[in-house]
């Protein structure tokens, strides 16, 4: 079964939360060294929850769809809960089976969000 389901393609062609959060509390960029794809994540928080989040960058359909769905998912989520998200949560959101090679693509936005959250502590 193709991983390029309509829902993935929709998120790829019209990604949610694409852009930059103004006056962000955290602004980070992460790179997938395997392919050179990069993603920038900006987020704003009220101290306890993520009140706004956005992403931009070079990415394939899988990483873009993942970023789109993931940023939707973490909006208004508590920082504590957001930090606990794993690749399994991402794959559940995407709803497709990925080969080991593509899992890295789906992981990139999650790494971006975790890095952004980590920077808040610093």
């Amino acid at each position: 079964m193709s991983i390029y389901q309509e829902i993935i393609l929709n998120h790829y062609q019209h990604p949610h939360n694409h852009g930059v959060v103004p006056d962000a509390d955290s602004d980070v960029s992460v790179v997938n060294s395997a392919c050179g794809d990069s993603i920038r994540v900006t987020l704003a928080t009220d101290g306890e929850t993520i009140i706004n989040i956005a992403f931009e960058g070079h990415g394939c359909a899988i990483s873009t769809a993942s970023a789109s769905m993931l940023t939707d998912h973490v909006k208004n989520m508590s920082l504590v809960e957001a930090r606990k998200l794993t690749i399994h949560d991402v794959l559940k959101l995407l709803g497709i089976e990925l080969t080991a090679g593509r899992v890295k693509c789906a992981l990139l936005p999650l790494e971006g969000i975790h890095t952004a959250l980590h920077k808040l502590e610093g």
């Binding site: 193709s2 050179g36 394939c60 899988i62």
Partner: protein, 416 residues
């Protein structure tokens, strides 16, 4: 017309596969597989010191490859052939065994922006570690090496000086598919500094065209077995005898010695001095079978086949996609092989490769171990299709149709 697909069992085992990733690794003809299986089932003894029949047979089969390879590249002696693990290890051998010794602070080590990381990083690190300058020859926006003066002649006056210890260059780019004017470049280097050690990476060239090391007049030439229908795990380093004779060993261990005492070790002559430990005996025997297979088809025929496919490939991509598809180096005037690394507007190479895979086509996506080149040509990543003697015009048609399908899925709004 070459029609050899039937010689390659993988293609019969995967009748729906269109394999377009030979630049990554080539498929293997049955004869190569048979020769290796024969070693393992009939005479898999160790080489060089056994005094029984099986070992003598293994030794002679192994050593025969040396002469077969020497003849294949027109080396003057089989003593100039060193077996390594792959082209990457061959280059590292030069950099470690010789480079570390001869590169002094203030010297220069030259490579180019179009190199595979294997012929870039070893020189970069050698320069850094020995406090030498790492000079990288740039390319133009169309992928030509920036070595020509206004009259269109090769002019290396700004690049090579009396301090240039090494000059490393690939014969064929694994991203651009273009064939560099290696012989002319070598002449130009030697005209400025006859002592510069010239290293040619022939990994992408040797499988596809006749190569003559004496005619080129390089000092070293490297290639990998697996890219020329041979097994993985074997590479070759060819070096001029006079240079190898003065090179210290790379790895130390068994087989490289004449005498070992507590106070000192006396090393053997080249090439044995550079082959420590038990090598990939089956692999070297497999390489011999691969060379013989290619010679049986004919290197000139293979080259002509590829030139034809290159022309069809580029033409097909252009007529199907127009400006929406950019093939790196397509606008270069250099001759080329049937290899195209391209960007398709609005379509990420990963997605293109994945969608092509869903249609049974194997291509590669990323930067193909040539990050500096991709950065220079402002390409984030590319999809690369590379053809070889077992590919045909049909494969190009399949590729083009599949790409059109992928484009429709990924960016339906893009018009040609």
């Amino acid at each position: 017309m070459i029609d050899v697909a039937k010689d390659f069992p993988l293609l019969s085992n995967h009748p729906d596969l269109t394999y377009l990733d030979s630049a990554a690794t080539a498929l293997k003809p049955q004869s190569v597989i048979d020769r290796m299986t024969e070693y393992y089932s009939s005479y898999s003894a160790n080489i060089h010191r056994g005094l029984y029949a099986l070992s003598e047979k293994a030794s002679s089969e192994y050593e025969e490859t040396r002469q077969v390879v020497a003849d294949f590249i027109h080396a003057s002696s089989s003593d100039e052939i060193i077996f390594t693990r792959n082209a990457t290890e061959s280059i590292n051998l030069i950099a470690y065994a010789l480079g570390r010794e001869v590169v002094d602070p203030g010297d220069t080590v030259v490579s180019t922006i179009i190199e595979h990381h294997a012929n870039f990083i070893p020189w970069q690190q050698l320069a850094f570690q020995n406090d030498a300058e790492f000079k990288v020859i740039d390319c133009t926006d169309t992928g030509e090496l920036d070595i020509y003066n206004k009259q269109g002649h090769i002019d290396l006056a700004d690049i090579v000086t009396e301090k240039t210890r090494f000059f490393a260059l690939s014969y064929v780019s694994n991203v651009l598919g273009t064939i560099q004017p290696v012989k002319e470049i070598i002449k130009a280097v030697r005209a400025i500094n006859p002592k510069t050690l010239i290293v040619i990476d022939a990994a992408q060239a040797l499988p596809h065209m006749p190569v003559d090391v004496q005619d080129l007049d390089c000092d070293f030439l490297v290639f990998s077995s697996h890219k020329m229908c041979g097994p993985t795990g074997v590479g070759v380093l060819w070096g001029k005898a006079a240079i190898l004779d003065h090179m210290p060993p790379f790895l130390f261990g068994g087989d490289i010695i004449r005498e070992v005492r507590i106070e000192e070790t006396v090393f053997a002559q080249a090439p044995y001095r550079f082959e420590a430990g038990t090598p990939d005996i089956a692999g070297v025997i497999g390489l011999k079978a691969a060379v013989r297979y290619l010679q049986g088809v004919g290197m000139e025929k293979i080259y002509a086949h590829e030139q034809n496919l290159a022309h069809i490939l580029l033409g097909s991509l252009t007529s199907a996609f127009g400006d929406a598809l950019t093939t790196l180096g397509a606008k270069s005037s250099a001759p080329r092989l049937a290899l195209a690394a391209f960007e398709l507007d609005g379509c990420h190479p990963h997605d293109v490769a994945a969608l092509l895979d869903e249609q049974g086509i194997a291509v590669r996506a990323g930067n193909h171990c040539a990050m500096p080149l991709h950065t220079r040509l402002k390409a984030h990543a590319t999809t690369r299709a590379s053809l070889y003697l077992y590919n045909s015009e049909d494969d190009i048609e399949k590729l083009t149709l599949a790409l059109q399908k992928a484009q429709k899925i990924l960016c339906p709004s893009i018009k040609k």
